[in-house]
């Protein structure tokens, strides 16, 4: 029996580029980068200075003081995005539908900011107590749980944590639950709030963060730049979306997941290439139908040539006809939230026929020889697109989308 087709009917997103899909999409289309000096952390003892912090995301505009007490920043992003996506979908949640709705919310780090502050108290400030909300704020599933509580969703809800692939793994799991008929509606994506002193120090020690900005696929790229934020997508079977006359952004056609079994931080070519192939096959998409790839594109020395080779390995000559951009050049690398933010960019690219660029682009690395849509968005209708995520730990998850022409 053919599986149920699944479509995207709601989007919610907050990141450095703005609060809300409309604002974020406008920034992406204009190729504006949100990378600037980090303000929420004292950076005087950190070697890099720049990140992509949300600008103008005021928690008190979205949450009650009591909610703010309970929600770490990563959960605030998750809940904000879920609310926006649900509102955007126009779905009225009935009690029956709430039981048939699933939540899959990815996060790499959970409530890192809360943990950092709490442990500072006992390790360094001589205090003998940690705030009693430290555990409920810190746990990685806090985002999924707070979404469930706020929306009254009572179906399966969980968090996937696969570093930089967390969001894409979440989207693929939600797709599977919908196809299998386990649920009839999903809110899926991910979020991250990585701007805390201890964590930034840990990234500094990895020596992979650029001192300037994020220049994916460029010869003079100097590493990744961290970003914060998250996104959620409302997913539902095509027939129910049609039945209620929903606005359909695109079809979530398939997903491909592989592991490198290679190295805890160095990427491989074969693992990502296999994930891309599986995402195509699973979505019933022929390689030459793909017109756009939202790349993992971290701008680290290792990722960009490996990802380029993986794309070439799968697509052969057709690789030269695919627009490949890394929107991390604009919203930074939001780790467990990255794939969801990039899924929003990919879905809107399919819907509006505008391909977001790779910003901050100078000169291509000779090892990176694809069309990276340098600096300026391109008006181009494409029929199908991919969004890549390749995590530390060699865990790869790629999602494939098809344009929906109702």
């Amino acid at each position: 029996m053919p599986h149920r087709r699944v479509v995207v009917t709601g989007l919610g997103v907050v990141c450095g580029l703005g609060t809300g899909a409309e604002a974020v999409w406008e920034s992406l289309r204009e190729g504006r980068s949100a990378i600037r000096p980090i303000e929420s952390v004292d950076m005087s003892r950190i070697a890099f200075k720049n990140g992509a912090e949300t600008q103008g995301f005021d928690p008190s505009a979205h949450f009650t003081p009591s909610q703010i007490d309970h929600y770490d920043r990563f959960a605030q992003f998750a809940v904000y995005a879920a609310r926006e996506a649900l509102r955007d979908s126009g779905i009225e949640l009935t009690d029956a539908l709430r039981e048939r709705t699933g939540i899959v919310a990815g996060s790499s780090l959970g409530g890192q900011t809360t943990e950092d502050a709490g442990f500072l108290d006992v390790y360094n400030k001589g205090k003998n107590r940690v705030h009693p909300l430290t555990i409920p704020r810190t746990m990685a599933n806090a985002g999924a749980s707070q979404i469930s509580m706020e929306l009254g969703v009572t179906g399966p809800a969980f968090t996937l944590s696969t570093a930089c692939s967390s969001s894409n793994h979440s989207l693929v799991q939600a797709l599977g639950l919908l196809r299998a008929g386990t649920i009839d509606l999903a809110i899926a994506g991910g979020s991250e709030a990585p701007f805390s002193f201890g964590l930034l120090k840990a990234w500094e020690a990895m020596r992979v963060v650029a001192p300037d900005t994020c220049r994916p696929f460029c010869k003079d790229r100097r590493g990744m730049v961290l970003g914060e934020g998250g996104a959620m997508l409302v997913l539902e079977p095509l027939e129910s979306a049609k039945a209620r006359g929903a606005k359909i952004y695109a079809e979530l056609a398939g997903g491909g997941m592989t592991s490198d079994a290679h190295h805890i931080t160095q990427p491989s070519v074969s693992g990502p290439a296999r994930a891309i192939r599986i995402a195509l096959e699973d979505g019933g998409i022929a390689p030459d139908e793909i017109g756009y790839i939202n790349a993992h594109g971290t701008a680290t020395p290792g990722n960009d040539p490996a990802e380029t080779r993986a794309i070439r390995a799968v697509f052969g000559d057709h690789a030269d006809r695919i627009a490949v951009s890394s929107t991390k050049s604009m919203h930074g690398h939001a780790l467990g939230g990255a794939g969801a933010i990039e899924a929003v960019a990919t879905v809107l690219a399919l819907k509006d026929g505008i391909l977001p660029p790779t910003a901050n682009f100078t000169e291509a690395d000779p090892e990176c020889d694809l069309d990276y849509v340098p600096n300026t968005a391109r008006e181009q209708r494409v029929n199908a697109a991919l969004s890549d995520s390749f995590a530390f730990g060699g865990l790869n998850a790629v999602v494939s989308f098809r344009a929906f022409r109702g």
């Binding site: 003892r45 070697a47 120090k201 020690a205 020596r207 100097r222 931080t265 160095q266 290792g302």
Partner: protein, 88 residues
Amino acid sequence: MPDEIEEKVIATLASVKHIPKEKITLESSLADLGFDSLDTISMLFELESAFQISIPDDKARSIRYVHEIVAGIRTLIAEGSLPAAAAS
């Protein structure tokens, strides 16, 4: 006779990679010694602690041989490199 800096560098590398000091010479390359990217950043971290210096990313990226590490550390010490804030 190896001097104190050379000895300390070799001891640090041996400790990070869990190999005998005798396997390491000034002419050894990090690749030959089996250092991957994570071994390398761990080595830089330990060298910063051992010598109370701060090794910038740009300098670190070009290192291939043990003698380059020794030379780089001599330069940083001569320049009076400030230790990373938390190196102590």
